[in-house]
């Protein structure tokens, strides 16, 4: 991979995680536990979708540099197969109950906030710009999801049990958040990307703090599920993409 190809791959990782999580949050539209949460959660999804678009748009420009032409945002989002997606395994996990959704969101938001903070110092101007804009939105997301983990954890017996189960079940996907492969190592070395390994300690501290306030137990089981960055996904991604992509594939180039 040359330098541009590495940046392209990295941008897809960022875009795909945002896109897949936005799609998952979109599944809550009309199904939220109360109207206010329906609006709040889907607003988070819209923010993430907007960020995905910014990453995709830049990715398309970078692709032009090494491939002569770049695919459009739509082509990248709707015409790639599962094995070409680079999102974290965490975000493709199903919505489940509100506890499951908020546990997933919480784990992701704490990481996302730290990552974007680091990327605002990227030597790549465009990455720094996008990260700066996204960071404002994600600061809010992170507060929100922590609030919910605390309220559900330190809530009724039932909410506490469900929240603890959700925290435990999703823990196995959190190791991937700090995985650094050759591409990311090279980009971090060039000052373009972020060394995700450095986010592990602060992430752990934040998560432990919130879980303590939520009267929840920090899991200690191994967090070894990974593969998203290489296009090796859980069974869930296929179904999610079918739902997300069928219209563009059935009616290519369709416009509203």
């Amino acid at each position: 991979m040359n330098a541009d190809e590495r940046v392209f791959d990295y941008l897809l990782r960022l875009a795909d995680s945002d896109l897949v999580l936005a799609q998952r949050l979109g599944e809550w539209v009309g199904h939220g536990p109360v109207l206010e949460e329906d609006i709040a959660l889907t607003n988070v999804g819209l923010d993430l979708l907007g960020q995905a678009r910014l990453w995709f748009a830049y990715a398309a420009e970078v692709e032009t540099r090494f491939a002569g032409s770049g695919r459009s945002e739509d082509a990248l989002a709707f015409l790639r197969d599962g094995a070409e997606f680079r999102n974290l395994l965490l975000v493709e996990q199903p919505n489940g109950s509100y506890a499951d959704t908020m546990a997933r969101q919480f784990y992701f938001d704490v990481w996302h906030r730290l990552l974007l903070g680091a990327l605002t110092r990227s030597r790549d101007e465009r990455i720094a710009e996008i990260a700066a804009k996204a960071a404002k939105e994600v600061a809010y997301h992170a507060e929100r999801s922590a609030d919910w983990v605390i309220r559900l954890g330190d809530g009724t017996e039932e909410s506490h049990a469900r929240m603890q189960a959700a925290i435990d079940d999703l823990w196995m996907y959190t190791g991937e958040l700090f995985e650094v492969d050759d591409t990311e190592r090279a980009l971090a070395g060039e000052g373009i990307g972020c060394d995700a390994g450095l986010l592990d300690q602060p992430w752990r501290e934040s998560v432990a703090g919130v879980l303590a306030e939520a009267t929840l137990v920090l899991p200690t089981s191994p967090a070894t599920q990974r593969g998203g960055k290489r296009g090796i996904h859980t069974e869930h991604l296929g179904h999610l993409l079918t739902s997300m992509q069928w219209l563009q594939r059935a009616y290519p180039g369709a416009q509203w």
Binding site: E36, I39, A40, N43, R151
Partner: protein
């Protein structure tokens, strides 16, 4: 006591160019902090405001429509309560 319903909160927003918080509506939330976050999501999506106040609806005491007459009608016909009622002498320009 377990509550089945979240309490209702009245929401007041001050816009960028305003001086006063205006009442914009109400919403349900488990507590004040969530009420503020929900108000931010429900009532400031289109850049409507820079400051949010939330008040538990049960903390608001309001006048009853039936009390309108004794409370407000007397003020209708007391023109001397308005500063413009008093004519200023010509010599006094800046009072």
């Amino acid at each position: 006591m377990t509550m089945k319903e979240w309490p209702l909160w009245e929401i007041f927003i001050r816009s960028q160019h305003g001086l006063a918080h205006k009442h914009v509506g109400s919403l349900h939330a488990p507590d004040a902090e969530m009420a503020i976050k929900n108000a931010r999501d429900v009532y400031t999506r289109r850049n409507e405001g820079v400051s949010i106040w939330v008040v538990r609806s049960s903390d608001i005491t309001a006048t009853a429509p039936g009390e309108k007459t004794p409370l407000f009608e007397p003020a209708n016909s007391k023109v001397y309560r308005h500063p413009t009622f008093f004519p200023m002498p010509d010599g006094v320009k800046h009072l």
